[in-house]
């Protein structure tokens, strides 16, 4: 963990301001109901909550796959609500990395090419994409599986490939949606260890999970219920210690 020096340098990567997401209907369904949240560079945050609490909607909003009905989502100090659809695609290509519960690897493609696909929409050359891909696979401990296709990999290995794909472009934030949801407990623990390791190397990671145990193991927990933030361990700590983050 970084220990703040004399003056704490606050470098905000993600900020949500009064975010509301309503789905049309009679009456309208408010999936996210006024969420404000700040995540700084280098944090490893769990967003926890029971199913239906709105945490997946929150992830989609943070990942710019969805737009808020009102409120603002800022990534790298840029207000995403002001960006065109194509600009958001560019933002995702450059600044965000996604990890999904179902891994969502591209069938029939090798691990190297799956990870390289993380750089595809940045317009990098294939050669450079593959080189960086191999490096990212080494970081997740899969440098011995470069030429394997997803159907010849175990669940844990597939999720490692997916994590490497999210990491390969050095994104501002890695968003992981139930990354252990499809894995047994032993493999889950390995994936959580991997996330801790990457966090220590400096990556900013947001993990969405309904698993209390996994959430508790992460440095910061944000609990969501009924579209609102029920608790945020960072705020509790700061209010207890009386020191602003």
């Amino acid at each position: 963990m970084k220990t703040p020096s004399v003056i704490p340098i606050v470098d905000t990567v993600l900020e949500l301001v009064d975010v509301v997401r309503e789905y049309e209907g009679e009456p309208p369904v408010r999936a996210i109901d006024g969420v404000s949240l700040r995540i700084d560079r280098g944090e490893l945050v769990a967003i926890a909550g029971p199913s239906g609490s709105g945490k997946s909607t929150l992830l989609n909003l943070v990942g710019t796959l969805d737009r808020p009905t009102s409120g603002r989502v800022l990534i790298d100090d840029v207000d995403t609500s002001e960006l065109t659809d194509n600009a958001l695609a560019g933002l995702r290509a450059a600044r965000l990395g996604f990890v999904f519960q179902q891994f969502h690897l591209l069938a029939g493609m090798t691990a190297v090419d799956n990870v390289a696909a993380g750089l595809l929409y940045r317009g990098e050359s294939l050669r450079s994409r593959r080189a960086r891909s191999k490096h990212a696979l080494a970081r997740v401990g899969l440098d011995h599986r470069l030429g394997h296709t997803p159907n010849t990999l175990s669940g844990g290995e597939r999720q490692r490939v997916a994590i490497a794909r999210a990491l390969v472009g050095e994104p501002a934030i890695v968003l992981a949606d139930e990354p252990t949801g499809n894995l047994d407990s032993k493999t889950s623990a390995e994936i959580v260890d991997l996330l801790h390791g990457l966090h220590e190397e400096g990556s900013t990671i947001v993990v969405i999970t309904h698993d209390q145990e996994i959430a508790a193991g992460l440095p910061r927990q944000v609990v969501v219920r009924d579209g609102r933030i029920e608790s945020d361990s960072a705020l509790v700590e700061s209010s207890l210690s009386g020191v602003g983050r």
Partner: protein, 407 residues
């Protein structure tokens, strides 16, 4: 929302896909679903192949007919007596050939006269047995006028035409069982033996000669005691003057009653066959077009299914930074490449079918290059068009919805 849309900025980040990667991404679906891709492309291939084959076969057949016409010449005319004003069979004067020969551009003219006598293999065949062989009395220059040549033996000359000798047409020789003249075969004509001195090659323009036995006019007179009147006069003209000769032929052959003779050109029948083929070609092309359309619908169908199946992939690509345009282009490229592969296969197949068929028919192989270009272009357009709707649907998928696990 709309006022907000107007203010939206392009932001500091760009999503970019290299042209090479556009192609690579567009062919991922084909490379990872080979069997399905092959079957889909086959639909287009069959349509293109049938159209190319129809064009190639009809063009080869036409080229062959025209080459044959060139060889046979279109400068042969024939005159036959028709009917007089009372509906009775008209006749032509025996002097007609010599009068026709006086027309300047006429190279040669020669008459045949039907003689009423049976032509039989031997004297033991009952005379009531019909074999459809016509006995014709001819002038010595008939074979020259028709451009006929001997398949076996020799043709009539000034000497042999005075003797009881006969030259058989190709079909007549076959029916009489004569295929060789070296052992001095004879046939029994009108109660007399005739020596067969030669057999003609088949005549494309004059199939009636193929079924005839030819003897001299003089022989017909001395042996059968008949004064045969010309039943047909063949006229070979200089190629440039065919129409001019044609115009004066009736009046020359029958000065008193030009209406009673009919002038025709045997090669016209052959030329007409090329025209008939054109109608058939259009029909077959239409059928090929329908096959192609079905192939196109097949591609569109497979692409729609593919988009449904690949929701997750589309969602992931959007999450990785693909724009809607990138997704749309991916599917348009996929369907275009698929169809193009089918088109190339189809053109190849069509070419092979044309070559094999034309060779079997003994034709020249003539496949217009436009046909091949057309085949490939048609496939390209059909693929792009068929892929457009599925691609737009793929691009419109809500990415948040698409990455969600299927319920």
């Amino acid at each position: 929302m709309s006022s907000r849309l107007a203010r939206r900025r392009r932001g500091p980040w760009r999503s970019r896909l290299r042209p090479r990667d556009v192609l690579a991404t567009g062919t991922v679906g084909i490379r990872t679903r080979r069997a399905r891709s092959a079957f889909t492309a086959l639909g287009i291939a069959i349509g293109i192949a049938s159209m190319v084959a129809v064009m190639g076969i009809s063009s080869s057949s036409k080229a062959d007919l025209l080459a044959e016409l060139d060889l046979l010449g279109t400068n042969l005319l024939q005159i036959q007596p028709g009917q007089n004003t009372f509906g009775e069979a008209a006749t032509m004067s025996p002097d007609a050939p010599s009068m026709i020969r006086r027309i300047g551009p006429v190279q040669s003219a020669s008459s045949i006269a039907a003689v009423n006598a049976t032509v039989q293999r031997s004297d033991v065949v009952p005379s009531s047995t019909k074999n459809g062989i016509q006995l014709l009395a001819t002038e010595v220059n008939l074979t020259e006028t028709l451009g006929a040549s001997a398949a076996a033996g020799r043709l009539h000359d000034e000497a042999s035409i005075q003797l009881p000798t006969v030259v058989l047409g190709a079909v007549a020789a076959e029916r009489l069982g004569v295929d060789d003249v070296s052992n001095g075969p004879r046939v029994f004509i009108g109660g007399r033996w005739f020596d067969v001195i030669g057999i003609l090659e088949p005549l494309r323009l004059n199939p009636d000669i193929d079924r005839a036995a030819l003897i001299g006019l003089e022989t017909a007179r001395t042996v059968f005691g008949v004064e045969a009147l010309p039943s047909t006069i063949y006229v070979r003209t200089t190629p440039a003057q065919v129409e001019a000769v044609r115009d004066v032929l009736a009046r020359t052959a029958s000065p008193g009653s030009p209406n009673e003779v009919q002038v025709s050109r045997p090669s016209d029948a052959l030329a007409a066959r090329a025209e008939v083929d054109e109608n058939l070609q259009n029909l077959l092309l239409g059928l090929g077009g329908v096959a192609l359309l079905v192939g196109g619908v097949g591609i569109a169908n497979v692409m729609v299914i593919s988009v449904l199946e690949r929701r997750a992939e589309i969602g992931v690509r959007r999450a990785l930074g693909a724009t809607r345009a990138h997704i749309r282009n991916q599917f348009v490229v996929e369907s275009t490449v698929l169809s193009l592969l089918g088109g190339i296969l189809g053109v190849t197949l069509g070419f092979v079918v044309t070559t094999v068929y034309a060779r079997r028919q003994g034709w020249l192989v003539d496949l217009p290059i436009q046909g091949l270009v057309f085949g490939v272009l048609a496939a390209l357009l059909i693929g792009a068009f068929a892929g457009l709707y599925p691609a737009v649907r793929a691009a419109r998928l809500d990415p948040a919805e698409a990455v969600r696990p299927a319920a």
